[in-house]
């Protein structure tokens, strides 16, 4: 990892102060180490800072993202040479991995923990963990987390043996809890909420500035499955 130069940090810091954005910085130590600054700003603030217009784009699945329109954006000379990337601006989300939700709730049918046990022959003495030393883990990213009520409902309806086996949360993001759907399989494992487009789900407009090198203000037209819909709000 290449930490930003002290010159870059000073320049961006004074840019933040001169634009009265001190209260908008939501960066944490981890993000800073990676060279990111995160600002929580309104669309209007973002448009003023970047001299641009944000539009809401939608894809064929109805996902919405807010991006800069085709005329692009620019950033103050004071920080231009220190900033390599500002997101979200002109880069559209690539299709991401995630469980594909089907449209309607079901009660019967589908693969359940009991069905998994039957299909894979998980019976007998080894069917439930007993060792006090053994642990299993899942890893989540992109600020995703489960919803406790959904986890408990999963236990009640589909995996009563797992009830109460709350996971221990570990990692640099362990204090931050954001809504994510849960899925407990077998010994209580979880699925991330389908987030094809993580930036679309942020509660307010977050700008990420990556301090690493020269800023390239390339304007890019949306890839073909994103269509401009309306002014961002």
């Amino acid at each position: 990892m290449t930490a930003p130069s002290s010159e870059a940090v000073v320049a961006v810091d004074s840019w933040i102060k001169s634009n009265n954005l001190t209260g908008s910085v939501v960066s944490d130590a981890h993000l800073l180490r990676e060279g990111f600054v995160r600002l929580s700003v309104t669309v209007e603030q973002a448009e003023n800072l970047l001299n641009c217009k944000y539009m809401t784009y939608v894809d064929s699945d109805g996902h919405e993202v807010q991006r800069v329109d085709e005329s692009g954006y620019s950033v103050s000379d004071a920080i231009d040479r220190f900033v390599s990337v500002i997101e979200p601006t002109v880069r559209f989300p690539a299709p991401r991995r995630g469980p594909l939700l089907k449209s309607s709730p079901v009660v019967n049918g589908g693969i359940t923990p009991a069905g998994v046990r039957t299909a894979y022959g998980i019976t007998g003495a080894g069917a439930h963990g007993k060792s006090t030393k053994n642990r299993v883990a899942i890893a989540s990213f992109l600020g995703q987390f489960w919803t406790q009520a959904d986890l408990e409902k999963f236990w009640t309806e589909l995996s009563p043996d797992s009830a109460g086996n709350n996971p221990t949360v570990l990692g640099p993001n362990s204090g931050q809890v954001r809504a994510m759907q849960c899925n407990a399989m077998l010994c209580c494992l979880y699925e991330p909420r389908p987030s094809q487009h993580p930036f679309a789900s942020l509660p307010s407009h977050h700008l990420h500035l990556h301090l690493a090198g020269r800023h390239r203000g390339i304007s890019r037209h949306p890839v073909r499955h994103w269509h401009r819909q309306r002014r961002a709000d």
Partner: protein
């Protein structure tokens, strides 16, 4: 079974919409051998071309280290068939391998449909453009290519790259609870935690017997020719305007060696 949930915010340094695997791995490395979970599932990933190669190499080294200290790491192989983590446009018809699933130091989990005998069409698999084929896999891939199954044109993929996935599990119509309702979801994001649950049960039996955890699974899996799994021999993983690869007897780049057979795993991986 005690469960940990790693939560890592932020993004990759070179690609703000990707996951910071390296940050997470340094935290896993910092946990003591006694405390750290010995089977870990990750349902996140990217397309290989979207990940800086130097960064990817560094991440691969960390996976190697964690495997060597007794941790089995499972990754969902992806949901786009041969066309990446999600169905994507393929430049000149070139198949899109996924990251980190294709790294030999992790165990990539592909998918089956609810019948448990057929590959899920979404199951990502194929051959890496980043990683050379590991020695333990050479015979398995050779056997697949010589088996006579219909193969895509060789211009679509790197015929000397590491093959993936290694194994498979359910990846269609898996029931979860979201926003208070049961939903069926599809994706290898389901297959990875399901397979990991089984691995962890085997670790549990081993520990009860005073043995260590399984650790990096792939060499054991390939030297046993997948004999503790149930082979999946039908279905394929279409993408890039092709039928993708065909599932076949033995290892294949759609479902690997197949799905868990818990009784066989208990015999071969615990008692033996």
């Amino acid at each position: 079974m005690p469960t940990d949930a790693w939560s890592t915010a932020g993004q990759q340094p070179h690609n703000p919409e990707n996951e910071p695997f390296l940050v997470w791995l340094t935290n896993v490395a910092a946990q003591s051998d006694d405390r750290v979970a010995k089977a870990i599932s990750v349902s996140y990933g990217d397309n290989e071309p979207g990940v800086n190669f130097d960064y990817a190499t560094r991440v691969a080294q960390e996976f190697m280290k964690q495997g060597a200290r007794g941790i089995s790491i499972m990754f969902s192989s992806g949901d786009g068939g041969v066309a990446g983590g999600q169905p994507s446009p393929c430049a000149q018809g070139r198949f899109i391998p996924t990251f980190p699933a294709a790294i030999p130091y992790v165990t990539a989990v592909g998918g089956t449909d609810p019948s448990n005998v057929k590959a899920a069409g979404l199951s990502s698999g194929g051959f890496s453009d980043y990683w050379e084929r590991p020695k333990y896999q050479v015979d398995a891939v050779k056997a697949y290519m010589a088996s006579g199954v219909p193969m895509p044109d060789p211009t679509h993929y790197n015929s000397t790259g590491a093959g993936f996935p290694d194994v498979a599990a359910f990846a269609e119509d898996v029931i979860i609870v979201a926003d208070g309702n049961q939903f069926p979801v599809s994706g290898t994001s389901c297959a990875s935690p399901i397979f990991t649950g089984v691995v962890s049960l085997i670790n549990d039996l081993r520990m009860q017997a005073g043995k260590g955890s399984l650790g990096w699974l792939n060499p054991t899996l390939y030297s046993a020719k997948g004999s503790f799994l149930t082979d999946i021999t039908s279905g394929n993983n279409p993408g890039c305007n092709t039928n993708g690869f065909e599932a076949a007897k033995g290892w294949d780049p759609v479902t690997g060696w197949g799905v868990p057979n818990f009784q066989a795993m208990s015999k071969q991986l615990v008692s033996a």
